[in-house]
């Protein structure tokens, strides 16, 4: 009985007790019932107070919950973070990456933005002055004998043409990592039925992916030396250099990347304010170093020989 009562809400409990007293009238009933009623009442009142207390807590939690879903990403205080000059960070990273292939290991840049949780994100392509990718083999599908074919070849595409590419792919030999197409060749491409071969590898040109373009040559150059980047959870991560780069080369690449990202941020809607909050230099196998914007510090040794393996 008591367990039932403890399960019921206070109001219902009162109801039950009143019912029972009505159903079982007896000589003692009135006395007992009143006694019980008072007991329950006192209990209920305690409960009510308690529940009120609980409610107020809950309200607080609600308020807190609202605070947690802040519209901005949380910004940590960078005073707690030790920051490094570029050359010092490079010195550590080169020590952590010792013995690795200097063309395989890469420096990475992580750019933390001040940004809202809901809102447009930065997403763009970038061409760095010192190319990172050691090799990127590109095939271009364009009408044979056209101006584009010559330009694409000059830009460094490994496989150019229509029938040549189709034959190579159908022969089971795909000697490229990227494939772009000229709009004039799209008809031939769809007729050739390459989707079965290229589709699973993600190489099928499509306008949606930006791999069907008029200006084939510039896109080839972009793909060979460029990187794509996008903002995820207010951080842009992109490779910024090979491990064998000198500090000057890395600085040039970083400068271009940061300028472009600032431009991207400025080009957004007027109401959207995005700015760079922190820049972290990391590498394939190394930890991340927050940069303080200086090139070198007093402790930096001679930087002229800081390149190569």
């Amino acid at each position: 009985m008591s367990s039932l009562h403890s399960l019921l809400p206070t109001a219902a409990r009162g109801l039950v007790s009143s019912c029972r007293s009505a159903l079982r009238p007896g000589p003692l009933a009135s006395v007992v019932s009143t006694f019980q009623q008072t007991r329950w009442a006192s209990k209920a009142s305690v409960k009510r107070v308690k529940s009120q207390g609980y409610k107020s807590n809950k309200d607080k939690a609600k308020v807190k919950g609202k605070k947690v879903t802040n519209k901005e990403f949380k910004q940590h205080n960078l005073k707690d973070m030790e920051q490094f000059a570029l050359c010092d960070a490079m010195r550590y990273i080169r020590a952590f990456e010792v013995g690795r292939q200097p063309t395989v290991s890469k420096y990475e840049l992580h750019i933390r933005l001040k940004s809202k949780r809901d809102g447009p994100v930065i997403r763009n392509m970038l061409r760095l002055p010192h190319s990172i990718s050691t090799e990127s083999r590109i095939a271009v599908i364009c009408p044979p004998g056209s101006r584009q074919e010559k330009e694409a070849r000059d830009a460094g595409a490994v496989l150019v043409g229509e029938q040549e590419v189709f034959d190579a792919v159908k022969g089971g030999n795909i000697p490229f990592d990227r494939c772009i197409a000229h709009p004039d060749s799209m008809e031939a491409l769809s007729k050739a039925g390459l989707g079965r071969f290229l589709g699973p590898r993600g190489l099928m040109p499509s306008a949606k992916m930006g791999t069907v373009v008029e200006d084939v040559a510039s896109r080839v150059e972009m793909l060979r030396g460029g990187t794509t980047y996008r903002e995820r959870a207010a951080v842009i991560r992109l490779p910024i250099g090979q491990l064998g780069f000198s500090p000057e080369q890395l600085r040039d690449n970083m400068r271009i990347a940061l300028e472009q990202i600032k431009k991207d941020a400025a080009a957004m809607n007027d109401r959207i304010v995005k700015e760079i909050y922190e820049v972290v230099l990391s590498s394939t196998n190394g930890p991340g170093f927050s940069l303080n914007g200086e090139f070198k510090s007093d402790q930096t040794p001679d930087t002229t020989s800081m390149h190569g393996p």
């Binding site: 707690d80 973070m81 010195r91 020590a95 010792v98 393996p309």
Partner: protein
């Protein structure tokens, strides 16, 4: 991005990952400067590059070489940022575990006793015209012994920890000791709680059983 304290902890303390600790790169076995062009002497010429070759698995005495790469090479690289250091991991367990030290002009005077003359490292880069190579056989040697060999061969000057770094090291040791005692303390606490819960559960089960009878 991960929160600032976690990132700092990763760089500062050993408990998460020793290989990402900055102090560990500055101080320890192999924290030394090789003789460079200005400090080179007739007996010990300047070092121009290092190359290490060893096999992928540890049997056949290749463990020390790998440990040398993991422990000493980062410190050497940190203190000698200009000296190229390359590592080649082969599949050949019976092959050599060799450390090639490249000297400017001529090898040091200790090279005659330390270097293995008949050892050929096919993976090491060919020395330039003004370089001489001394190849150390590092098979079946622990990395500390490899380091001693290298030190004697090149006359590298070890860099002792500064007072600041020593204090930091002491603090880290204290923290490690403290976490050891804390670990046992907390484990005991958790065990007591678990025992209590288990006893309560057993008691409840007994009551249930009695009710069913």
């Amino acid at each position: 991005m991960v929160n600032v304290f976690k990132r700092m902890r990763k760089l500062k303390t050993t408990d998460i990952c020793k290989s990402t600790q900055l102090l560990n790169v500055r101080v320890g076995t192999g924290a030394a400067v090789f003789p460079a062009a200005p400090s080179a002497t007739q007996e010990f010429p300047a070092i121009t590059r290092l190359h290490l070759t060893y096999a992928r698995k540890i049997y056949g005495g290749h463990q020390g070489a790998r440990h040398f790469w993991r422990n000493c090479l980062p410190r050497l690289k940190y203190h000698n940022p200009g000296i190229p250091m390359t590592v080649r991991q082969t599949e050949d367990q019976d092959g050599p575990a060799a450390l090639s030290v490249y000297f400017a002009q001529k090898t040091s005077t200790t090279a005659a006793s330390l270097a293995a003359e008949d050892l050929k490292d096919a993976h090491a880069p060919a020395p330039a015209d003004n370089e001489q190579v001394a190849v150390l056989d590092v098979r079946n040697l622990p990395y500390t012994e490899i380091w001693n060999k290298v030190k004697n061969l090149t006359n590298a000057t070890e860099i002792p920890a500064t007072t600041q770094e020593a204090a930091e090291l002491r603090k880290l040791d204290e923290m490690a000791a403290k976490s050891k005692t804390d670990r046992t303390r907390i484990a005991a606490k958790r065990q007591v709680k678990k025992d209590q819960e288990r006893m309560l559960k057993e008691a409840r089960e007994q009551v249930e059983r009695l009710k069913q009878l």
